[in-house]
Symmetry: C2
Subunit: 184 residues, 2 copies
């Protein structure tokens, strides 16, 4: 299984871009489509404006009870009805990364309830977390969400709650790429 994923912003791919919103810091260039590729991409493909490289990895914060609860309710990706997707690249501050594990965990869950709040939006919203800080990318994480149109309002509320949390005080760059599936 290849753990590498690349998100190519350009003119290809089945995900049509509805909007690119800069939430904190520098945004990304508006493109027509995002092509999601399950591999590393050596260089920027022709006809594209940006490529974000990333990888899936092991669990970094969740404990056994949280993992069990998540696994019981989280939906898979690529559901037929999930025609809405959102790609959210995030970069956290140096201050965040210099903290030891216990302090990051305390802010992430005990203070911000990241997993607990996310759970409230399951099984409507499917999610894949991707890492990219360690491979010299401009962002630290990419999160990819998929849901049916009827869950859009709930998803918007989830974003507001996350951005109001203590954890988000350490977010220094965030972009929101809204997409719709369009297989053509």
């Amino acid at each position: 299984m290849n753990n590498r994923f690349s998100f190519i912003g350009g003119k290809q791919g089945k995900w049509r871009v509805v909007d690119v919103r800069g939430i904190f810091g520098l945004s990304l260039e508006l493109v027509e489509r995002v092509n999601v590729v399950n591999d590393a991409v050596g260089e920027l493909p022709l006809d594209s404006s940006w490529v974000l490289q990333s990888f899936t990895s092991n669990i970094r914060y969740a404990v056994r009870d949280e993992v069990n609860t998540l696994r019981a309710v989280q939906p898979v990706l690529n559901r037929l009805e999930a025609v809405c997707a959102v790609l959210i690249p995030i970069k956290k501050s140096v201050q965040w990364w210099e903290m030891p594990q216990d302090e990051r965990r305390a802010i992430f869950e005990e203070e911000s309830h990241h997993t607990a709040v996310g759970l409230e939006y399951l099984p409507g919203v499917a999610r894949r977390l991707l890492h990219c800080r360690d491979i010299g990318e401009p962002f630290d994480f990419l999160t990819w969400f998929e849901f049916g149109p009827e869950h859009t309002k709930a998803f918007d509320e989830l974003l507001l709650r996350m951005r109001a949390s203590k954890e988000w005080e350490y977010v220094e760059r965030e972009v929101e790429v809204r997409l719709e599936r369009d297989d053509k």
Copy 2:
């Protein structure tokens, strides 16, 4: 600061190989020298037998008290007197990586005392931990140690204690590359 490090086993570099020992699983080919490069290396350089790619990252298990204690006593790399080095590539099992954070932490520290035992060998032994599982490498970690010859016996004891720990039940491949500085 480039967080990428490559260890090239071949005929170049200031670290002369004294021995390559397969501890668990497949060993590495015996080479004359290891060249430590603070960058990613695209392909296997001429005249070399292997290259191990890796990166430094944030703290994964240590809590605030442990980090403070470590920082107060850990020596830097490249000390003039530290002419002995050991490179230890390790791969852990699928079972290890599928555990949530709390279970890995409990085995790592509460059961195996990884940080506490390591602390007993400071400030004699300098150490750099490098990660490589996420970038598709054959190992999960590379640890690089540097010390003066008078600390060799203590270092050997440290390895025996680590390998007798609960954490090491999850190690499925381990190689020990012993080196001596030889600037020529």
